[in-house]
Symmetry: C3
């Protein structure tokens, strides 16, 4: 690898970090109750029942995100490889970072819950990676991811546990956060004016587009599990049904609009691979609420429409006018649909009543309940018995704050990534594996 | 897209239909009990336990069927894309169509059960699409699917709830129905005599055949879930075990016969991709019965043999003599194996006794039970305590009726698809994506 | 197929074997209790809860192993096809072979447990196939597999039930056994000195490497299910968490070391596809023990390091000096990591106390318990209340014995495969599908 010494040092630093992670686990982590031998055999039902959900999410992170990003003609090794590399590091890192918010006697008590949260959190830098795809080195990506997770964990703690907003599918805290953070980093890494045209390898082949469909389809299939994995009981059932319907509505809409709005008035694989998924993001925050099947379908239709329009008009405009590049169109799949999710949650929180939600009110909106059933935090602003109108206001504030923190954080990290200690890719080195990968001489036969 | 105005209108109509679906959901659909907040937290075990099964079926529909049909060299976008498009529309449509047969107070009560049934139903037009693959426009396909689902739902209601036949894996009502319906449509769309030779793109590449193996393997793996998702208790365990063994038997048989019967006396990917799965279809109707592991293996051997022979002799003969084309050889994977399933069910129904089936008799053959445990319908012909011999007769009648309805329905829909209001593909436009998709200039490198 | 008569006879023999399997099932197999109709509906919870775990393992065997081996440029049909063919035969065979060790009234009582064990056992010849990939005929492979399973079943019975060693994830009995057996067979089939250079097709294309990543990622994702499927209660939770962490540690390590040790000091797909998985093997034997998250990470780091070094130095040296070829580098993914697993189990068994393990002691180390909770065998050497030190000794002996039996067995089977009754591949026929498969004329476009 024709790289400066700093590049090699970056990989050495990652190895040292891996060893530090081992030490931190030894000091701070012990098994939680569900993983500790008992005097008698336990029923153990609650935990086991979330394991299949976890595995669905696990497939989304490693196969879904990995293959979705293989659409570039010469960047398939990096798409699947960096997804695996980054996520393997981040899932360990997240157990510690998020664990520090919930320690018992100075220890993190490891359980299935932690690895569910780790996998969900790994989606955050993967979403940001989608914005930057092909325009950073792996060292830049991993450095970004480590800091992004810290900021994400702080923002999530504040929004969910202090502001006590609802966001069961993470559309605000995961999707919008990851998207706007990545866009802000991308803005800081924007090319010079004379290098603003698309890269020579910045497009698909017939085969690379089919590999990307593997990612799309597994994300599409398992999205109901992503949105419902943190819900319980009847709220989990609603989260499954609503996500399923929203995805279906977004998909039909994306296909139809693609034939009407794309350049040649034909189906465009970019829309099929991405806008079909916008329904899963847009319903994420409210999927466990009483939105009805029709509410889910409506949100899906809106998300699918906005996403196709974003790919057709907004992404090219941002690239042309702001030199703000977004390789995978993350703004159209995670950014705007995440905002739709946040706005929907304002409406539905405003409409929430004790009569409609019964037992679930305390589980979904702890601050609105007299005595929340799932005690999530003692730090909720204003304590309990918040009004529906106030809850709606908090939802708005949480959405707004998340986007601001993501943008400010992204601008800061982006400016660090430009500093001299990082190798940066030249225009002609972008969107191809060869700089960091041993690639067979003949690409295929 | 160089298409007549009617083509554009077709896509607009689909968008309007999506909006109508939203309205119909608003009017007719509400959450069922399992998705409604309760006064107290429920145990909720029954529903949760079917969710992993559902997700397996979900993978089969979207990844399994989608990738199985990518084997054509230039039709991969359409195979995966139309599978996603059509199924996203059909799963919403099916909730309404099938829901109208089981309303409470004029409402469809949405639950996990509905989306399980929707996914299973989506297989019906996907099977028919396999017959027609590459020879219709997407508008023709979707129009066909909407009407096919209505006919399917009526036939299923009559066979399962009025005739009270057993068909837990849907081999009669889903597989045979979809196959013979598709064949009848294909017959109506048969080419002129002078255009009867295979299309220039009607074959695989090395890469497209490997993509198709993704579909085959996920279908193969999850078929036990497809056949057992509607079974319960010990019948579900039998359905899993029998399907597993039948698939294994069919696979070994298909591989061996392929080396003996194919043109070059070598393994033929068509057999490997399809005939290996015939065991899953052929055991579907009886997989929850007391057929024994050996019964399952025998059915698998028969299905694998017949399927390979069908690909080698029957499909080419139908194309040559009747101009009846069957792009994926659906007749050999879903048609004939569906008939084997129906015939097997006659034998095993005839042999069923209260001593062998105990509690399960009422669950599997409601009409044979004194008082069925799972009350499925009040409209069963002749009421309860039907004899085994009579049940066998009903199984025969149900199989026969399903095939007749499928063929007649297919002939009618096929003749509608030939009418002037639909754009039809010219010979040279078939089996390629370019007419409806934006395709990268160089297919691959 | 330009094959001698014996080749054709081999396929006929497989068909006859399939029919014999049907007969043996009819004679010896009946449904176990969980699949037999009951007088009243049962709760059935225990069995249902393992079905999602089973399906994860099922994906690993058929998609994971199948696609992992598609990395060769012209051997993708064989990799996916023979995986399916061989496993379909072996899963039936294993039910009988392993069933004979646990019969009731002369019958094997079929249950979900059997098909879980069958799938796990199918991994054994698949691992050996990885060593030999591209250098045997399918007939040689299947013959080897049938005998390997018998030897495997005997060794497993002795190690687990008579010696009573722990090996919940099968790293000793499955991974190390399959690897050293395959290496011994490969040694017997070593090429002549003048043909020892790599074959002309023994390398990947860009596309074939991406197909292989499908296999890698599904194996990576579902490995926690593989290691935990035979565990219960809190031990299952530990098995999940430890495997997850060990894989993460191995992955980060493999990526970093790959950039430092590979030929061009770039990431090497061979390491990414394989060494990332070494953490799953290396933790398999002890994943249900009290090793702590840090213990799991440490084992992962060691396994990832050793695996990359093995690919870089050991595999080429074995090929050059011993003419011992290992196409997939199985020694680095299953062999050495399996030994790490065995050695780890010696350490942790030595440290095991009743205070730490409470109820789980009898489940994990039956011989150490006063009265084991899960009665696995009456034949445990020395009966119960074995000391921790003695248990450590037995772990060492079990590991040692397994490797010896695998090597001796592999040498014997390997010498049989060289005999005149088997067609053998010429140098130029290796690593390509064409001899046994109908391949499209143009490989791709």
């Amino acid at each position: 690898m024709h790289s400066p010494i700093s590049e090699r040092m970056g990989f050495v630093a990652l190895m040292i970090l891996q060893i530090i992670l081992f030490v931190l686990f030894a000091v701070f982590v012990r098994y939680g109750k569900a993983a500790l031998p008992a005097e008698v055999p336990g029923l153990f039902l609650q935990h086991v029942s979330k394991y299949p959900h976890f595995q669905d999410v696990h497939v989304m992170i490693f196969v879904g995100f990995g293959f979705l990003m293989t659409f570039l003609k010469k960047y398939g090794y990096s798409a699947t490889g960096y997804t695996l590399f980054m996520s393997a590091l981040i899932i360990q890192w997240t157990i510690l970072v998020k664990g520090f918010f919930h320690m018992y006697d100075g220890k993190i008590e490891l359980s299935l819950e932690h690895i569910i949260h780790s996998d969900i959190s790994a989606a955050v830098p993967l979403i940001s990676m989608g914005v930057l795809l092909g325009r950073t080195t792996p060292i830049q990506l991993l450095f970004m991811a480590l800091f992004e997770i810290i900021l994400f964990a702080v923002n999530e703690y504040v929004t969910l546990e202090i502001l006590s907003i609802c966001d069961v599918g993470g559309s605000i805290t995961v999707h919008a956060f990851g998207a706007y953070f990545g866009l802000a980093v991308s803005f800081m890494l924007r090319p010079k004016k004379e290098e603003n045209e698309p890269g020579q390898y910045e497009g698909p082949t017939y085969t690379s587009d089919l590999f990307a469909m593997i990612g799309t389809l597994f994300l599409w299939i398992y999205w109901p599990s992503f949105n419902s994995v943190l819900a319980d009981g009847t709220a989990q059932e609603r989260a499954i049904l609503n996500t399923y319907l929203s995805l279906a509505g977004a998909t039909v809409t994306a296909f139809v609009l693609s034939t009407m709005m794309s350049h040649e008035k034909k189906l465009d694989m970019v829309h099929v691979q991405n806008s079909t998924l916008a329904g899963g993001v847009a319903v994420g925050t409210v999927c466990n609420l009483m939105i009805g099947g029709h509410g889910a379908i409506l949100i899906g239709i809106l998300a699918g429409s906005l996403s196709v329009m974003g790919y057709r008009y907004i992404t090219p405009a941002m690239a042309a006018k702001l030199r703000l590049h977004d390789t995978c169109g993350v703004h159209n799949l995670h950014g705007m649909p995440g905002v739709i999710a946040g706005l929907s949650s304002i409406v539905y929180a405003y409409l929430a009543t004790k009569e409609d939600y019964k037992y679930d009110l305390g589980a979904i909106f702890p601050a609105m309940a007299n005595q929340p059933k799932n005690l999530t935090s003692n730090h909720i602003i204003g304590g309990y018995e918040r009004s529906a109108r106030a809850q709606a206001g908090f939802q708005l504030f949480g959405l707004f704050m998340t986007i601001i923190i993501a943008i400010v954080g992204g601008l800061i990290i982006g400016s660090v990534l430009r500093c001299t200690c990082f190798r940066k890719l030249q225009k002609e080195e972008q969107h191809q594996d060869e700089l960091y990968w041993e690639v067979p001489e003949q690409k295929s036969e």
